[in-house]
Amino acid sequence: MKKTAAMGLAVLAALLAGGLLAPKWLLFLVTMSAANGLVSLGIVLMMRGGVVSFGQGLVFAAGGYAAALVSNKLGVSDALLLAAAGGGAAVLLAAPFAPLLARYRGIFFAMLTLALSMVLYGVLMKSESLGGSDGFNMRRPTLLGFSIPDAWSGYALYALVVTIAVLLSTAARVYFDSARGLVALAIRENELRVEYLGASVRRVMALDFVLAAFLGGVGGALAVMALGHIEPQFSYWTTSGEFVFVSILAGHHSVAAVFAASLVLELVRSFSSAYFPNTWQLALGLFLLIVIRFLPKGLGSLFNRFSRQAAP
């Protein structure tokens, strides 16, 4: 655990220093991919138990709308509070469904979560007070009581998002390696045996769903702060599909790989929309196919392969 914390701090320091040198477009890309990466980290958390949610758009949108509404209606502008509000709102929304969803596996879990996110999408599209399909804008947040000057807005948000992402993923690593976190891996192998050994599979699955919701909510809140705008698209199934892609690309072994994969997706997306403006979906789709074909266990398996080669 100490080693994990030290690693986390080192990575954070490197990212904060590196951000000072990076150009603006790269800062924004990293900010977005770290925020989105948190949502995918939630899916990875569930993937360790053998289920994949195709509806993380639900908690992503819940977190985003909560942060934007708290900022606009209640006048709270502190970025940390808004991120916490996003995470809290997502947990409140997801928690009632957790015991229900904990009964489902495989394709049914994926489809039921997808249905939930599409229900939210349907509701958001029709709610005029929330801007309907256009969504609405959000003011720039403040940080720890200071308003952020224009010149530093990109870096300040980058620093905030990166810090939260590193803290949460360090916490996730600690949880993965804890006894409770390891039960999930056992469930993935054979859940009936885990039940015979006396652990409650459903409780683990329900808890993991709620934790994933928190990560997704925080990710949504951070994303809406970076974009300054929110719309029902946050909850659409294609958005959820991208999160799933990132987690499959990362694999369930490495936490750092999730953010690497998220960055790769953002890079591919922005470069293909710059160079093939009319066919960027096509480029993205081909990229997905190639990755699934040639990296069956995800980017994380590459990391592990290298470290295993180095070890002996």
Partner: protein
């Protein structure tokens, strides 16, 4: 009373095309064990192909009723050209991998097809109005119904019965059932499983394209028609139980009725009602209405 009848008629008409599309989806899942996200794209390609064929028929000066043949030809063309290419060229590489991973593969295929359609047919809407007026209106018990809707119901029933008969009463169908049960044992008995996969996929795609072609006269065919269909037909097959024909029929009726009830009584709930129906069914029947419970692995 009249409102109730209208709701019923709308619901059945919507359920009919939904059943045609969902039947293809459930068939592909039953045989290939792939939940095909790109099913909606094939539906859209079918609609575009229908628009193209109807336009060709019109320029060649064929009689208006022949536009129905054009609709059919469009879907046959999609199934004959695109389906084998997809199955042999792409899906075959990924057989045996995790179910959820295969969903992701078809999601990628969906993205690719989405842009390919824009490249081929552009982004402007197409209108195929010719077939819609052919059947006129039909008076039954003082209520007027759109003839095209009734024809749609007939096509849906024909498709359902045809698939049921084909699977249960013909030799080829029994071979397909054997593959559905266990591809490995079927192969060891001398069944060419690869060929069964290809034909099943072609037939599933044909149904998707047919659904698209039959809907084309009722909507404007433009980018984005595929996206909504995917999710609604997923709801149908999940309600009915994946891989079940009866289930797809009941699921389509449930979703059709839920939607038409919402549209006529409280329009904002249109999208919501479909998924609410799905969630309610799944709470009581976790595997869907017609799914056999699988033995648990120890």
């Amino acid at each position: 009373m009249n409102t109730a009848l209208t709701i019923l008629a709308d619901g059945v008409a919507y359920a009919s095309w939904l059943f045609i599309v969902a039947l293809g989806l459930t068939l592909v899942f039953g045989v290939l064990k792939i939940l095909n996200v790109a099913h909606g794209s094939f539906y859209a390609v079918g609609a575009y192909a229908a628009a193209t064929f109807v336009a060709w028929f019109a320029t060649w000066g064929f009689a208006p009723w022949l536009s129905l043949i054009a609709l059919l030809l469009g879907s046959v063309a999609v199934a004959a050209l695109l389906a084998p290419l997809t199955e042999r060229g792409l899906l075959r590489v990924f057989y045996g991998r995790d179910e959820v991973l295969l969903v992701l593969v078809t999601y990628a295929l969906f993205l690719v097809l989405e842009d390919l359609m824009k490249l081929v047919w552009g982004v402007n809407p197409y209108f195929v109005t010719a077939p819609y007026g052919l059947f006129g209106n039909v008076q039954i018990g003082g209520q007027s119904y759109v003839g095209y809707d009734l024809a749609l119901v007939a096509v849906a029933i024909t498709c359902g019965l045809g698939v049921w008969w084909g699977l249960n009463r013909t030799r080829a169908g029994k071979v397909v059932l054997a593959v559905i049960h266990s591809a490995e044992i079927a192969a060891s008995m001398g069944v060419n499983v690869g060929r069964v996969y290809t034909f099943a996929f072609m037939f599933g795609i044909f149904l998707a394209a047919l659904g698209g072609a039959l809907t084309a006269p009722m909507i404007s065919v433009q980018p984005g028609v595929s996206v909504a269909v995917v999710i609604v037909s997923f709801a149908v097959v999940i309600i009915g139980g994946l891989g079940s024909i009866e289930g797809a029929a009941i699921g389509a009726l449930i979703v059709g009725m839920a939607r038409s009830l919402a549209v006529h009584t409280w329009p904002p709930a249109e999208l919501f009602s479909i998924y609410a129906a799905m969630a309610v069914v799944l709470i009581f029947r976790p595997e869907g209405l017609f799914q056999r419970v699988k033995a648990r692995r120890i």
